[in-house]
Amino acid sequence: MKIVETGGIPMELILKTDYASLYFESNLKLAVCVADEEYIPIDSFKSLFLAVSDLLEVKEIKHFVFDKRQLRTFHQPSMEWYFAIWKTSVREKGLVDHYKILPPLDWFVKAVDAGKWEIFKKYGSDIVNGISINYVDSIDEVVLKLKG
């Protein structure tokens, strides 16, 4: 498997699709999904996140970063699947910390707020219970925090 530099430490590239890449760092038990394109179609999105679920079982991942800085389109059905189905399943598999990196664009942040607002209205705000969600500016920030 190819080794790449991500977040200042060498990380193993687990999966590469046309739209995103998934990396893993064993010492920190950290997985990082990096969006490489402005938009990720829902099928590709699901396959990436299901790969994370598989990693949880075989590599005991505790921390997960979703780096969305390249994204320019917020896809509501993908986000709904992510909140309502994927998060519930990974919580049961032991994923503790979830980090997100948003593009530095106010309109995108507002679109995320709008998406979450709709999901919370539909499923209730309890949907995020049991998993810690943190917004950070870089992968380095998470790596430094985990290195303690």
Binding site: Y39, R72, T73, H75, Q76, A111, A114, G115, W117
Partner: protein, 291 residues
């Protein structure tokens, strides 16, 4: 190629969907904000209605200058509480043999200060109505006892007043004063203007407080300016600084021979000019008398 076209079509559709959802979210947020804004405006209006009414009540405690002028050649005062109501109190009471008058500045601002100011006014009325008061130091001491035992005896609430109490005896023609950290300037018809010395204790803080009594020898035409610290503590001017005592002394010196009414106008105008667009720093009041 077909895959690319499909990808961009899907992305475009998702962008449109994102825009519609975001617009809907922002519209609802705006509606909620407008509702909250309306609620806040109503609460704001209710509070200001209450303050307007409270201001009327507090204003009714101010003395009648016509009564002051029965004993004094001339008199005028100015009161501008920071939020319409406040802690500055100008008072006078005809004792039968003379006139008790003065100015007191309660701790704090706004509603609590106005309550303390009204309590002080009522205590002065009670003391001067039930006892033959011809000593300003005695009045300060009795007021000190009333304020302390009411507000600070069991729990120190920091409620107290600073200011000066005067007594003019119409039989002897003598003027005496007692100052509890009060601020006053004496303007003799001839000679240098002077700041009257003040005791270090405020009224109402401690039962041990001491209030000196001083007689002011005067000639007809001498004037007295009694003021609260809000007048000299006002921020403003070209460098946004406090007005300060020195500027007030200079202003009074330059206009010492103006009539009481003119001097009042001059000080009020100067205060407003200095304040400019700044907020009022404190309650502001002053009393000018001519003997």
């Amino acid at each position: 190629m077909n895959v690319d076209i499909q990808y961009y079509k899907e992305q475009l559709a998702s962008k449109e969907d994102m825009l519609v959802r975001t617009a809907s979210y922002l519209l609802e947020a705006q509606t909620k904000l407008e509702l909250k804004n309306k609620e806040l405006s109503e609460i704001h209006e209710e509070i200001f209605d209450s303050i307007r009414f409270a201001r009327l009540i507090q204003t009714s405690f101010l003395p009648n200058t016509d009564v002051l002028k029965v004993f004094l050649k001339d008199a005028s005062f100015f009161v501008k509480q920071q939020i319409g109501i406040g802690g500055d109190l100008v008072f006078s009471k005809n004792t039968g043999h003379g006139l008790v008058f003065g100015l007191l500045d309660s701790t704090g601002h706004g509603i609590p200060a106005s309550m303390l100011s009204i309590a002080g006014s009522l205590f002065i009325q009670e003391i001067t109505s039930t006892m033959q008061i011809d000593s300003p130091a005695a009045l300060a001491k009795l007021l000190n006892y009333q304020l302390y035992s009411t507000f600070n005896k069991t729990e120190l609430s920091l409620a107290h007043m600073e200011g000066s109490v005067f007594y003019y005896c119409s039989r002897t023609g003598k003027l005496k004063y007692s100052s509890a950290k009060g601020k006053a300037i004496y303007l003799p018809l001839n000679g240098a203007i002077t700041e009257l010395p003040a005791s270090k204790d405020p009224v109402g803080q401690s039962p041990e407080s001491v209030f000196d009594e001083v007689e002011i020898p005067f000639v007809s035409g001498d004037k007295l300016l009694i003021y609260s610290d809000g007048l000299v503590d006002q921020f403003g001017g070209p460098s946004d600084k406090k007005y300060n005592r020195k500027r007030l002394l200079d202003l009074v010196e330059q206009n010492r021979h103006s009539s009481v009414a003119e001097l009042k106008e001059i000080i009020e105008f100067e205060h407003n000019q200095w304040k400019g667009d700044n907020t009022q720093t404190d309650d502001v009041s002053f009393l000018i008398i001519e003997l």
